[in-house]
Symmetry: C2
């Protein structure tokens, strides 16, 4: 499975493509950062990010897109820009029928380093090691994009199993409820 | 000038097209709300909003797009969705070369009602009156989209004048600085 990991942003948007192999083996296909000028207007910056991602879709043909879920940041203005950059990437993927998954920063850190509170240096270090890269990807946004892709590759089987289990449980609950309703009706008819 | 006003959102995205005439006259061309199901995934919801806006671009051919600027909301999750919906609308406009402007809620309220703290009912009331509508547009997101378009039509001449004045001032300052630098050089050569 080939995953495009995206660390969304307007100033820097990290993009990383990772192939997942047997077991936990992962290999880096491409990594880069898209930058947009801070003095450009928002719509133009979003267009630059969206166009870059389109090129990556064409060039690397990922099967899934994994985007960092933005919850909040100290700077609301930055958080909004980050959310919007992530939104246009998700839109581009949806237009191509590619599944999109969001992972929180702590999920990504936990998947890659074992700790949800790892710092940027630890994430970069583990990403470099896991992918067997000759040197550490820079800036941190590039390493984060690769970490997102790895996180998705490793979490996805679990997520899929969980989703299947929940769907089965919901189906069983439905059957159970309809039987209960039938029994209640029968009891009512019996005058009880 | 024809403006598409957008009150962005995933649950409800307000769209309103307003034509500006001589002076402050405004007329309503179209107004509606796009809804996306809360249980759909984010990428699909963004695609629904983006597709609806594309249809509006084709049908009503606005010359400018005015979007509500999201600063923050009590619910961070909602704020992110709102920002992302606004982002995909801005992207669609940028793809067509349409200018995009953002206005804050208080700018919109002030433009339409005279007070930046007007409530929803007051905004809806003024929008209905200004556009001479037979009945109030509902829900509030529809009225807000029309208010955004009106706000843009009324603020734009001022904004354009201000931008021109600022550009002129920057140019003058540049000339002034280069003359100062020349004078300093001359003084240095004169050994002073």
């Amino acid at each position: 499975m080939r995953v495009l990991g995206v660390d969304p942003g307007l100033t820097r948007c990290g993009l990383g493509v990772v192939d997942g192999g047997a077991g936990r083996t992962v290999s880096c296909v491409a990594v880069d950062v898209v930058r947009t000028p801070a003095d450009a207007d928002l719509a133009t910056r979003l267009l630059t990010v969206a166009d870059a991602v389109e090129t990556w879709f064409d060039t690397y043909r990922p099967e899934v897109v994994a985007i960092e879920r933005v919850f909040s940041q100290h700077n609301v203005r930055t958080a909004m820009g980050t959310a919007q950059a992530g939104g246009v990437v998700a839109l581009g993927a949806a237009r191509r029928g590619l599944p999109v998954h969001f992972h929180t920063p702590s999920e990504v850190k936990a998947a890659v380093t074992g700790s949800g509170r790892a710092d940027k240096a630890q994430v970069t270090g583990m990403v470099t090691k896991l992918l067997g890269l000759a040197k550490a990807p820079k800036p941190a946004d590039a390493a984060d994009a690769l970490a997102l892709a790895i996180c998705h590759l490793w979490r996805e089987p679990m997520r899929a199993r969980l989703a299947a289990a929940e769907a089965r449980a919901a189906e069983l609950a439905k059957v159970h409820r309809s039987r209960l309703a039938e029994a209640a009706k029968k009891n009512a008819r019996a005058g009880r």
